[in-house]
């Protein structure tokens, strides 16, 4: 199966479900979609239908949330009512916990799409004498399943039984019977379990649930927390085996399946204007390829953001949706600065075509940045994305981490046919290509901006270092910042950087000082 194709479907909410349904039907075992972005891709269509899946992890790793999302999505989107049997929190607590994610449990309960049964086990109230079984639990579960016609069941966390009851032997044989019983009822079940020392779960639940096991992890590295998910086991099905970062935010849970992608990006022939006619000319007269990735690098103040603004402006003029991630400036600063060189992006923001996302790189870990960016991209559905400057992310992690993250991000954007422009801040003139070598191989087009100084004069130059799949100009083109944006000069007789004195081309231009 081709995961990369299905990835694209994430971007457009209208095609998402059909895309996933297609996945769910794609051979192998029948599966039940979780509706969790990313998880359905990793598992090739969701959890094993009609069978139990164990979701384990430490405290606060997101087990309950994952299980509840599975349940709520089932009821709301896949016409599969569900039963939640909770052992730790009562109905009110559960309802309160997920209300902030927009899950209206009372309404689902009212509509008979969800039944919640809180099983309270108070050790101090209970005396044990002689033989017993857990038929009471079965009866309750059965009653709840019948009440709503449930196709999905969540048991959260059944291990609480071990804390409440003394007779382990009875418990274990009853759990075995319970999972068998759930299978016979053909309900898709999620069982949560607390992570144990040296074992997946404290009580060895993995022993009973042999169909699928998902492990959640919550790590803090360099004071930055990252959540990860791994499919430890999935009997009878292919699945991604890596650790995937996931995110819990106001919209719930989303997993990032990027590193499972093969190199299968589409390679469209369509071209898009850079927004600077002269630059389009240099790019064999037509501009960038749609869906390609463009790196704009240069030292401070060379006009990287301005070039990006031209690109955004041109895309918005074509009616395309543009997303711009800012890691240095606030949107207001950028809008003001660009207005000063005659590029007014404000109307596009007002029209809803252009959206900014500004964040301090140090605010999250790399993975979280990556997941957040994915989510924003998926929510907004842009055809053009700008990251300004991508180099600021380098401060968050190691070189290898950043490279891995960018590979995944670019991979994702390419697969989704999103034209991406990344700006890169070079520390100094002599450093050209060094900091970028890590990501340059991922880039289709690389534009370098350079400054030089001759006496009292300050000159700006631009050249296309590479542009895959097109005959591009090798010219180093001088340009100036005017109140109508970047103005590339027709022919620079002695381009900057060569050290030659030629001031003729500078005449009549206006420096906006951006």
């Amino acid at each position: 199966m081709s995961l990369s194709v299905d990835e694209t479907s994430c971007l457009d909410p209208s095609t998402q479900e059909t895309g996933l349904l297609h996945l769910a039907q794609g051979g192998e075992l029948p599966k039940a979609l979780t509706g969790i972005r990313g998880l359905d891709e990793i598992t090739g269509g969701g959890l094993p239908k009609g069978r139990p899946t164990l979701v384990c992890g430490g405290p606060g790793s997101g087990k309950t949330l994952l299980a509840l999302t599975f349940l709520v999505n089932g009821a709301l989107r896949f016409d599969e009512p569900g039963v939640l049997m909770t052992f730790e929190e009562n109905e009110e607590e559960i309802i309160g916990d997920v209300a902030s994610l927009g899950f209206d449990l009372p309404q689902l309960i009212e509509a008979q799409k969800l039944a919640v049964d809180y099983v309270r086990i108070e050790r101090s109230e209970i005396e044990e004498t002689g033989e017993y079984d857990l038929e009471g639990l079965f009866v309750r579960l059965d009653h709840a399943i019948r009440t709503v016609g449930a196709r999905r069941v969540v048991l959260d966390t059944i291990e609480s039984l071990f804390a409440g009851l003394k007779n382990d032997a009875i418990l274990r044989s009853e759990l075995r019977r319970l999972f068998r019983w759930l299978k016979d009822r053909r309900v898709t079940t999620v069982i949560t379990g607390e992570r144990g020392d040296g074992a997946l779960t404290r009580q060895g639940l993995e022993e009973y649930v042999s169909d699928a096991v998902i492990l959640l992890d919550h790590r803090v590295h360099d004071q930055v927390s990252t959540r990860r998910l791994r499919v430890v086991k999935y009997r009878g099905s292919h699945h991604g085996t890596n650790e995937y970062p996931f995110l819990i935010d106001t919209k719930g849970i989303s997993v990032l399946p990027v590193s499972s992608l093969a190199l299968q990006h589409p390679a469209p022939l369509e071209r898009v204007s850079s927004g600077v006619p002269r630059l389009d000319e240099m790019l064999s007269g037509l501009g960038y390829y749609r869906g390609s990735t463009i790196l704009v690098s240069g030292t401070a103040g060379t006009g990287k953001t301005s070039l990006a603004a031209h690109f955004l402006d041109a895309a918005c003029r074509r009616g395309e949706r543009c997303l711009c991630f800012l890691f240095e400036e606030s949107p207001q600063q950028l809008l003001r600065n660009m207005r000063s060189i005659g590029i007014d992006l404000e109307p596009w923001v007002a029209a809803g075509l252009l959206q900014f996302h500004a964040a301090r790189p140090s605010r999250y870990g790399l993975e979280t940045h990556l997941v957040t960016m994915h989510q924003v991209v998926a929510d907004f559905g842009p055809t053009v994305t700008v990251i300004d400057p991508v180099t600021n992310l380098m401060t968050v992690g190691t070189f290898a981490d950043v490279q891995a993250m960018l590979t995944r991000l670019i991979d994702h954007l390419k697969t989704a046919n999103i034209t991406a422009m990344l700006t890169s801040l070079m520390p100094g003139q002599t450093e050209i290509e060094r900091t970028e070598t890590t990501i340059s191989s991922l880039m289709d087009t690389w534009i370098v901006l350079a400054n030089d100084q001759i006496g009292e004069r300050h000159r700006r130059g631009l050249y296309v270092l590479k542009s895959r799949g097109m005959a591009h100009s090798n010219e180093l083109c001088e340009f100036s910042m005017t109140n109508r944006g970047l103005n590339l000069h027709e022919r620079a007789s002695a381009p900057p950087g060569t050290g030659a004195r030629d001031d003729s081309s500078q005449e009549g231009t206006h420096h906006a000082g951006v």
């Binding site: 049964d117 099983v119 309270r120 086990i121 108070e122 109230e125 209970i126 005396e127 044990e128 004498t129 002689g130 033989e131 017993y132 079984d133 857990l134 038929e135 009471g136 639990l137 079965f138 009866v139 309750r140 059965d142 009653h143 039984l161 009851l165």
Partner: protein
């Protein structure tokens, strides 16, 4: 729900509080039959004339399991005197049942 011979109509033999007991079972299984037999015997011996036993079959009335938080069967619930006490199992260990019902102090 079935209410069994309570012995309440006969004059009380021993003074003390009234015991309101519920026995939750799931069908007529050997365990549930044994639990009822054991319970009846213990009550007759220690609570004569001041107990009532309700037997609730959860197979017939599953919705009643939630109220008393029943998950294991058989479960004996002492509703009165308060506080509520639960004893799970077939009640075969008389000593433990007596301790569980607060009829004998734990040794």
């Amino acid at each position: 729900m079935q209410v069994y011979n309570t012995g309440l109509n006969t004059p009380s033999v021993a003074a003390g509080p009234l015991y309101s007991l519920r026995l939750y079972v799931a069908g007529q299984t050997p365990k549930s039959v044994l639990a009822f037999t054991n319970l009846k015997q213990i009550c007759e011996q220690h609570l004569q004339g001041r107990y009532a036993i309700e037997v609730i079959d959860l197979v017939k009335t599953p919705q009643l399991a939630h109220g008393d938080q029943i998950f294991a069967v058989p479960t004996l619930v002492r509703r009165l005197p308060e506080p509520i006490k639960k004893i799970i199992g077939d009640l075969s260990n008389t000593e433990r049942v007596l301790v569980g019902l607060d009829l004998r102090v734990h040794q």
